[in-house]
C-alpha cells in the first residue's frame, strides 16, 4: 500500500474497511460523475466511513457529512482516501 508523505495510508473507498474513518484526498472520474460525488459532499478533506456492505459485497453505504450515501464499487474506486492506521 502506498504511503503518502504524512505517513498515512492511501487507498480508495472501494477498499476501505468497516468502521475505519478516512479522509477524502481526491475525487477522480469523468466530469459528470465527479461533479455529482463532490456535490453530494464527498469533497477533499471530509471524513467518510464505511457503514454497510450489501450482501454480495457491492454496493457499499458510507457515512458522509452526517448522512448515508451508497455507491457502487465502480464509483467508490474514484475516491482516494487516507486513513490513520493500516487498513485491514
Amino acid at each position: 500500500m502506498p504511503r503518502s508523505p504524512m505517513g498515512k495510508n492511501l487507498t480508495t473507498l472501494a477498499f476501505l474497511a468497516e468502521a475505519q474513518p478516512a479522509r477524502v484526498e481526491a475525487v477522480q472520474g469523468e466530469t459528470e460523475t465527479r461533479r455529482r460525488l463532490l456535490e453530494m459532499g464527498i469533497c477533499p478533506g471530509v471524513t467518510v466511513e464505511l457503514v454497510h456492505r450489501a450482501p454480495l459485497g457491492d454496493p457499499c453505504a458510507f457515512r458522509v457529512r452526517g448522512y448515508l450515501l451508497s455507491l457502487r464499487r465502480e464509483q467508490a474506486r474514484l475516491v482516494t482516501v487516507s486513513t490513520e492506521k493500516a487498513a485491514a
Binding site: 466530469t31 453530494m40 456492505r53 454480495l56 457491492d58 453505504a61
Partner: protein, 764 residues
C-alpha cells in the same frame, strides 16, 4: 402592495408587485411533498411538462388578499442538472421553460437532520438573488438526535427567512405562509473562490457583457459588433430563446428604461453566466454561448490556464460552497453530544444485514407480489361483477342489434378492460408509497443492485420488474421510482418479458392440451421454464442495451439512503390516489378506445343472413361470424406467415384477440372452435383442440406447435394496454414501436427455430 415586493428590485422592472407563483423545491427525501400538501390542502392538479414525462404538481395557497399558485418542483440535489427532472428545476427557476413564468418566491425545503448536504442547493438558490424562504423541515428528528438547529442563527447566516416546520405534524405551516408573503431577495452567499479563478471569471464576464445584450423580460440576443456589420442581420451568430418574464435586477441607472429596449448585459448577470461557463454547467441554454467563437476561445484559454495552475473550476466552486456551508452549520448547530448511533443506523444493522436483511427483503417482496397478484383479484372481479350488472340493466332496455352488441361487448367490455387494472395499480402504488416514504425502497435497491447492475439495470428496477409478473401495467408505472432515465427506460423496455398473470391461462391451456402425457410435476417444470425464459430474455436484452449505449454516458450509482421514517397514512393514500387517477384519465382513455376498436374488428363485417341461417346453433354461428369478420380474414391472410411456426388461421385470430389482453387468446380460440364460454369450459376447448386435424389427417395441436406458441407468448409484445402505458411513460411512440419490432421479431424467429427443431428431432 405585497410585502414581498418591498425590497424587490423586480418591481422596478414592471413586475407590478403581484405575487403569482411560488415554487417549492428541495432535495429528494427532504419532505417537500408533505409541506406542499400542508400548504395547498386538496387544491391540487397533476399535469406534466410538455415534451417530457415528469409530473407537474401545482396547487393553490390562500395568501392574504387572494390565492397564489404553488408549484411542487421535482426533488433535486443541484441546479447543475444531472437528470431531466433536475434540468426542469433549473430551467423553471431561470425562466427557461417556454410558457412558464419564473416563480416570484422560492421556498426551499431542507432537512434539519441532514443540514450540510441540503444547504448545498440553498447556496445555489441564493445565487439567483430571488426572494427566498427556507422551510427547515424535520426539526423533530434533529432534536431527537441531539443536534437541534437554531433557526435564527441559520437565518442570520443565510440572510433570508428560515421557518422551522414539522411537515407531517403541520406545525409551522402558518408561519411559513406569513414568511412567503413577506419574502425578500437574500444577498448572494460570499464564499471565497481561488483568486486566479475569480480573475478569469471577471475577464470572461467582461467579454460577455460586450458580446451580448440583454432585453429585460424578453431575453438575450446578439449584439452585433461593429466589425461584423457585413453579416446578415437575419442570422445573428448567437440567438437565445426568449426568456419570457425573466427578471434580473437592472442596474440602478437603467430602472427608467423601457422593458423592451435592449441594454447591455448587467455586471451580475454576466458574472453568473461566466461562472456557469467556467464550471461546465451542461444546461442547454448555455450551448449557443459556448459555440460563439469569441466566448469559446476565451473560455478555452481560461480553462487551460487554470489547469496549468492545478485548478479545476468545477471542484473549486463546489468546495467553496461546502466551506461556506461548514461555517453556516457551525453558526446554527451546537453539537450537544458526539455523534450517537441513530435509530436509523440501528435498524439498518438488521435490514441490510447479509442474512436477516435478505430474509426480510424476500418476505416483504413476497407480500408485495401476493398483494398485487391475488389481493387485487377479488377487487377486480367485484368491480367487473358490478359493471356486468349495470351492463345487463342497460342493454336489457335496448333491442338486439349492433348498438346492443356495441354497448355490451364494446363499451362495457372496454370499461372493464381499464377497470381490471385499477385495483392492481392502486394496490401497487399504495405499497410503493409505503416503501418509499419509510425509506425502505432505497434499501431494497441497495440489496438488489449487485444482481441487477450486472445487466445494466438499477437496484430500483427490482420492484417494478417483480410487479410485472402480476401485470406489466402497474410494473411499468412503478418504474417512475427509478430516477435515472437510461435505467428507467431499460427497465420499461424489458418489463413485458416478465410473464404476467394474463399469460397463465394460455400457458395452462397449451400445457394441458399438448403435454397431457406428462405428470403434474413435469407440467409444473414446463411452466417454471416458461417463466425463467422470460427472465433470461429480459436480462439478455438489458445487457445488449447496455452494450449498445455509450458507456461514457453510463450513469453512476450514487444513491442516498434516507433515514427511516414512519410513513404518514394520509400521504400514502394521497399518492396512491393521484397515481391511480392519472392512470385512469391518461392511459385508461386510450386503452378503452383501442378495446372498442378491437371489438369492431371481430364484429364487422356481419355475416350475411343467408350464411347465418346455415348455422342454427349459436356457438357455430359465432364461429362463422368470427371467421367472416375483419379479424378472421386477417387470421386467414397471415396464415402463410404463421405456417412455418406450426400455427393455423384459428391461432392467428387468437393472436389478434390477444392484443386486447393475452388471456383473450383462450376465449377467442374457444369461439373459433364453437365452444361456448371457453373461459369457463377449458376442458371442452382442450378436447376440441386435441380432435382438430389438418387436411392430411395429422393433429393440429402437436408438441412442436405448442412449444412454438409458448415461445411466442413468452417473448411477444402483444398487449395494447402495455403499449399505451409505455407511450405515456416514455413520452412518445418511439419506445413502444421499438418494443413491438424487437420483441415480436425475436418471438417470431425463436418460435420458428423452436418449431423446426422439434419437428426435425422428433418429427411432426
Amino acid at each position: 402592495m405585497n410585502g414581498a415586493c418591498a425590497g424587490c428590485p423586480v418591481r422596478a422592472a414592471g413586475c407590478g408587485g403581484k405575487l403569482e407563483l411560488i415554487a417549492l423545491l428541495g432535495n429528494p427525501n427532504s419532505g417537500k411533498t408533505t409541506i406542499f400538501n400542508a400548504l395547498t390542502g386538496l387544491h391540487q392538479k397533476v399535469g406534466n411538462y410538455p415534451g417530457i414525462t415528469v409530473d407537474k404538481r401545482t396547487g393553490r395557497l390562500e395568501l392574504g388578499a387572494g390565492s397564489v399558485e404553488v408549484l411542487d418542483l421535482p426533488g433535486t440535489y443541484s441546479l447543475v442538472a444531472a437528470s431531466p427532472d433536475e434540468q426542469i428545476v433549473a430551467n423553471v427557476l431561470r425562466g427557461q421553460r417556454s410558457g412558464m413564468r419564473p416563480p416570484d418566491v422560492l421556498v426551499a425545503v431542507i432537512d434539519a437532520s441532514n443540514l450540510a448536504r441540503n444547504l448545498y442547493l440553498v447556496s445555489q438558490l441564493l445565487d439567483l438573488k430571488r426572494p427566498l424562504v427556507v422551510a427547515l423541515n424535520m426539526t423533530d428528528v434533529a432534536e431527537r438526535r441531539q443536534q437541534p438547529v437554531d433557526a435564527r442563527g441559520l437565518a442570520r447566516a443565510l440572510g433570508c427567512q428560515v421557518v422551522p416546520v414539522v411537515g407531517h405534524r403541520r406545525t409551522g405551516i402558518e408561519d411559513l405562509r406569513l414568511a412567503i408573503a413577506a419574502a425578500a431577495p437574500a444577498p448572494a452567499p460570499s464564499y471565497p473562490l481561488p483568486p486566479p479563478m475569480l480573475q478569469r471569471e471577471r475577464r470572461l464576464a467582461a467579454l460577455l457583457a460586450n458580446e451580448l445584450t440583454w432585453k429585460p423580460l424578453e431575453g438575450f440576443h446578439t449584439f452585433p459588433r461593429s466589425g461584423s456589420a457585413g453579416q446578415s442581420p437575419a442570422s445573428p451568430s448567437l440567438t437565445w430563446k426568449p426568456l419570457e418574464g425573466f427578471h434580473t435586477f437592472p442596474r440602478s441607472g437603467s430602472a427608467g428604461q423601457s422593458p423592451a429596449s435592449p441594454s447591455r448585459l448587467d455586471q451580475a448577470t454576466a458574472g453568473s453566466l461566466a461562472r456557469r461557463l467556467l464550471i461546465g454547467d451542461p444546461s442547454p441554454e448555455l450551448a449557443p454561448l459556448r459555440r460563439q467563437a469569441g466566448v469559446s476561445a476565451e473560455l478555452q484559454s481560461a480553462l487551460a490556464e487554470l489547469r496549468d495552475l492545478g485548478l479545476d473550476p468545477m471542484q473549486a466552486d463546489i468546495e467553496a460552497r461546502y466551506h461556506w456551508i461548514d461555517d453556516v452549520v457551525a453558526s446554527a448547530v451546537a453539537v450537544r453530544v458526539g455523534a450517537r448511533r441513530t435509530r436509523s443506523e440501528a435498524l439498518d444493522r438488521i435490514l441490510v444485514h447479509r442474512a436477516w436483511g435478505l430474509f426480510i427483503f424476500a418476505a416483504l417482496m413476497a407480500g408485495l407480489f401476493i398483494s398485487v397478484f391475488w389481493a387485487a383479484r377479488p377487487m377486480a372481479s367485484g368491480v367487473q361483477g358490478g359493471l356486468a350488472l349495470i351492463a345487463q340493466a342497460v342493454t336489457a332496455r335496448i333491442p338486439g342489434g349492433p348498438l346492443h352488441d356495441l354497448l355490451r361487448d364494446g363499451i362495457f367490455a372496454g370499461v372493464g378492460a381499464v377497470l381490471t387494472f385499477v385495483p392492481q395499480v392502486a394496490i401497487l402504488f399504495l405499497l410503493l408509497a409505503l416503501l418509499e416514504d419509510s425509506g425502505y425502497l432505497a434499501r431494497a435497491a441497495f440489496l438488489m443492485d449487485r444482481v441487477l447492475g450486472r445487466v445494466g439495470l438499477h437496484g430500483k428496477s427490482f420492484v417494478p420488474l417483480l410487479s410485472c409478473f402480476a401485470c406489466a401495467i402497474p410494473g411499468i408505472l412503478a418504474a417512475r421510482t427509478i430516477e435515472n432515465r437510461r435505467e428507467r427506460l431499460t427497465t420499461i423496455f424489458v418489463a413485458p418479458f416478465m410473464s404476467c398473470s394474463a399469460r397463465l391461462p394460455v400457458y395452462a391451456l397449451l400445457i394441458a392440451v399438448c403435454f397431457s402425457g406428462l405428470g403434474a410435476v413435469a407440467q409444473g417444470f414446463v411452466l417454471l421454464a416458461l417463466y425463467l425464459s422470460g427472465i433470461i430474455a429480459a436480462a439478455l436484452t438489458a445487457l445488449v442495451i447496455r452494450r449498445r449505449t455509450d458507456p461514457a454516458k453510463s450513469s453512476p450509482f450514487i444513491l442516498e439512503m434516507p433515514a427511516y421514517k414512519i410513513p404518514q397514512p394520509s400521504q400514502v393514500a394521497w399518492q396512491a390516489w393521484t397515481h391511480t387517477r392519472s392512470f385512469v384519465t391518461r392511459a385508461g382513455t386510450t386503452i378503452f378506445g383501442l378495446s372498442v376498436l378491437l371489438w369492431a374488428l371481430f364484429y364487422y363485417p356481419r355475416l350475411p343472413a343467408a350464411a347465418a341461417a346455415q348455422h342454427p346453433a349459436p356457438a357455430q354461428r359465432a364461429a362463422a361470424q368470427v371467421e367472416h369478420s375483419l379479424a378472421g380474414r386477417f387470421g386467414h391472410a397471415i396464415e402463410p406467415a404463421l405456417r412455418p411456426l406450426g400455427y393455423d388461421w384459428r391461432m392467428g385470430v387468437g393472436l389478434v384477440g390477444a392484443f386486447a389482453a393475452r388471456e383473450v387468446f383462450v376465449s377467442t380460440l374457444g369461439i373459433t372452435y364453437s365452444v361456448a364460454d371457453a373461459g369457463q369450459h377449458v376442458e371442452s376447448l382442450g378436447r376440441a383442440m386435441q380432435r382438430d386435424r389438418r387436411p392430411d389427417g395429422r393433429p393440429v395441436w402437436t408438441v412442436a406447435t405448442a412449444l412454438s406458441l409458448m415461445v411466442w407468448f413468452v417473448l411477444a409484445m402483444q398487449c395494447l394496454s402495455t403499449l399505451v402505458v409505455v407511450r405515456r411513460e416514455t413520452g412518445g411512440w418511439r419506445w413502444p414501436a421499438a418494443q413491438v419490432l424487437f420483441m415480436n421479431g425475436l418471438a417470431y424467429s425463436l418460435a420458428l427455430v423452436c418449431h423446426r427443431a422439434v419437428v426435425g428431432l422428433w418429427g411432426g
